[in-house]
């Protein structure tokens, strides 16, 4: 009952003009970003951080989450109509979505995807609403050793799931951890790697690095590509009605995709992308007509799209309950909340319960807004996809420059962003995953605190960690995963761990 009363309060708080507007703007911009190939949700969320500073933490969180899952909605539009994924999590949708479009069923595909995404989003929010407070309370028993072991597990999974080469992923995490250690160490006020510079004493801010890695590097990437004008298939409102058969075939894949996506969302790494591949493979494997996949099977469209929407909600759990982001967009959210002096984690539910419950309520409203936005305006969003990057990128470049400058009125931050952008450009080309880099930057201070507090608590004797059940379990999971990773090539193809490479994450 207490949960319902808190949720009611959340609805009361979220039904303010500011929060509703933030939700709508976030969802709209997210959908547009999802439609436009190139700039992804992470870069957009980083770009929007300065705008959220004028409002409360809840408003900021609502706006950024709106962008994230708005992008998941929008990504499917271009996949189906143009055969170009708007963002990485919609790559799989191209396989059958565009085939449905060629058969004249684009409207039906988009309608089913929109409804499926709505159902998945709602189920995801329900899951978040149920699990997050429960896990948040459980996480209250976490001390520094548990947090340290959890970080180790997260880093092991992140480096292995983000790229084909775990070493590259691990290097990126380590480099991110190093950047976060620049400046005055809060534990003993000792300046590190500052070389006498007053600017470096304050440390390197997270935002310019994120904007550089995800925004500027993407702009540079697009600037170097040759533009080919895509052909957009026109769509009318009456085309949106799916047949009875298509509806019948979509129900179970939508539900399966929603549940699967939610749990994949709990994994570190590009969870939304992984969820689509896993969901697609599952549907193909259990289908009575697997030969239809790749030729316009409706299950191959609705299941991955449902999965990526609920994965967004799943990935909010580690962020909100432990304060540990597992994906690049949630790292941006953590940075945004910290800018508002709100520290997500076990204490969030005790100290700022209104943030969580208003966020939950706003997500329900946002999900409805997205459904209303996406169904009738699908034709408009399809046309947005053909805006030339030569027109769009100069505008985004200037917004990046001014946006980063505006946060601290600092030109140093703009230099950092440009450097991060150029480095990020080459890292993408050489297939180094950049999500672990940014997560390393965000988690650096927490990791150091956990390590030093653990060492001091145990008086340097790390073997005492074995006396703590949760810590041992987390370490055992990390070891088991590594063992599986190294042994899987010897166990045959069936056991091989394969992650689709994705250089945009």
């Amino acid at each position: 009952m207490e949960g319902l009363s808190l949720l009611y309060n959340g609805f009361v708080n979220s039904l303010t003009m500011v929060n509703l507007f933030a939700c709508f703007i976030g969802a709209l911009i997210g959908t547009i970003v999802g439609v436009l190939p190139g700039l992804g949700p992470t870069a957009t969320m980083a770009l929007m951080l300065p705008f959220t500073l004028s409002y409360g933490p809840t408003t900021g969180l609502i706006m950024m989450t709106g962008v994230w899952y708005g992008a998941m909605y929008g990504g499917s539009t271009t996949s189906v109509l143009v055969n170009i994924p708007g963002e990485a999590a919609s790559v799989v949708t191209c396989l059958d979505g565009y085939q449905m479009c060629k058969k004249g069923r684009a409207g039906a595909a988009l309608a089913l995807v929109a409804v499926g995404s709505f159902i998945a989003g709602t189920l995801g929010i329900l899951g978040l609403q149920f699990f997050a407070p429960f896990l948040g309370n459980a996480a209250l028993s976490f001390g520094p050793p548990e947090f340290l072991c959890f970080m180790i597990l997260a880093f092991v999974l992140l480096s292995n799931l983000s790229s084909d080469s775990p070493l590259k992923g691990a290097l990126m995490i380590a480099f991110g951890l190093f950047l976060s250690s620049i400046g005055i160490n809060p534990m003993d006020s000792y300046p590190r790697f500052t070389y006498g510079s007053d600017t470096l004493m304050q440390g390197i801010d997270f935002l310019p690095i994120a904007m550089g890695l995800f925004g500027i590097s993407e702009i540079l990437n697009i600037a170097l590509e040759t533009y080919v004008k895509p052909e957009v298939n026109k769509i009318r409102l009456r085309d949106l009605y799916p047949s009875k058969e298509e509806v019948r075939r979509s129900i179970a894949p939508t539900l399966r995709g929603s549940i699967l996506g939610f749990f994949v969302g709990l994994l570190p790494g590009p969870c939304t992308v992984i969820s689509t591949f896993v969901s697609y493979s599952l549907e193909k494997r259990i289908s009575k007509t697997p030969e239809e996949f790749g030729h316009g099977a409706v299950e191959g469209v609705v299941a991955p799209e449902s999965a990526n929407n609920s994965a967004v909600m799943g990935s909010m759990i580690p962020l909100l309950t432990l304060g540990i982001p597992f994906a690049a967009p949630s790292a941006i959210m953590l940075a945004g909340l910290r800018m508002h002096n709100v520290e997500p984690g076990p204490m969030l539910f005790a100290n700022n319960p209104e943030v969580f419950w208003t966020f939950i309520a706003a997500m329900y409203l946002g999900n409805i807004m997205l459904l209303i936005l996406n169904l009738p305006l699908v034709g408009v969003f399809g046309r947005i996809a053909v805006i030339r990057p030569q027109v769009l990128m100069p505008v985004i470049s200037l917004i990046c420059l001014v946006g980063v400058y505006s946060v601290r009125n600092s030109f140093f931050d703009v230099w950092v962003m440009i450097a991060a952008g150029v480095v990020g450009f080459f890292l993408r080309k050489w297939k180094y995953p950049i999500a672990p880099f940014i997560i390393g930057v965000v988690l650096g201070p927490t990791t150091e605190n956990s390590l030093r507090q653990t060492l001091m608590t145990f008086k340097g004797d790390l073997s005492l960690i074995m006396n703590r059940r949760i810590s041992v379990t987390l370490l055992a999971l990390a070891v088991a995963f590594l063992a599986y990773k190294f042994l899987s090539p010897y166990l045959g193809k069936k056991f091989a761990l394969k992650v689709e490479p994705d250089d945009t994450l």
Binding site: S181, I216, F411, V414
Partner: protein, 152 residues
């Protein structure tokens, strides 16, 4: 030729990362490692530096062995990349002197031309519109104090 170029650039990057890892380790040691019982400010970065060194060493070996065929940049791409970066750098350098409006207008125009937007009125319209829109949004809405420069 292209094969060699990519190979060398990535290898150079990894090699520089290796040096960075070693420098971090040595510098951090100087901050005071302390002991496991009483960690000093250098303990954590020593571990980070060591990790970077070890990972890059392995990557260096695998990069050295790999034979890749895709070039990262051709001549035209390198020129575009350099011009885009230079425009961003000039935006920062000229801003305190000339102020937001002039510098941002010129930078956006430059971005349009570097990205090969044809004609002159479209780039002009985009530059003018973007500069004004961002000025109104940041200056009036978010109260960001932009440098005014000598042109006020």
């Amino acid at each position: 030729m292209e094969k060699v170029a990519r190979f060398r650039l990535e290898t150079l990057f990894v090699f520089l990362m290796l040096i960075l890892g070693i420098v971090i380790t040595i510098t951090s040691w100087g901050y005071g490692f302390g002991s496991l019982r009483s960690p000093g400010p250098g303990l954590y970065p020593v571990f980070i530096g060591a990790m970077i060194s070890i990972f890059t060493l392995f990557i260096l070996v695998s990069t050295w062995k790999s034979k890749t065929s895709q070039p990262v940049l051709d001549k035209e791409g390198a020129k575009t990349l350099a011009l885009m970066t230079l425009t961003c750098c000039l935006w920062i350098a000229a801003m305190p002197l000339l102020g937001y409006v002039v510098v941002s207008f010129l930078a956006t125009y430059a971005f349009c031309k570097i990205m090969k937007l044809e004609g002159w009125w479209k780039p002009l319209a985009i530059s003018g519109g973007t500069t004004l829109f961002i000025y109104l949004m940041f200056d009036y809405w978010l109260y960001v104090d932009f440098p005014r420069g000598i042109l006020g």
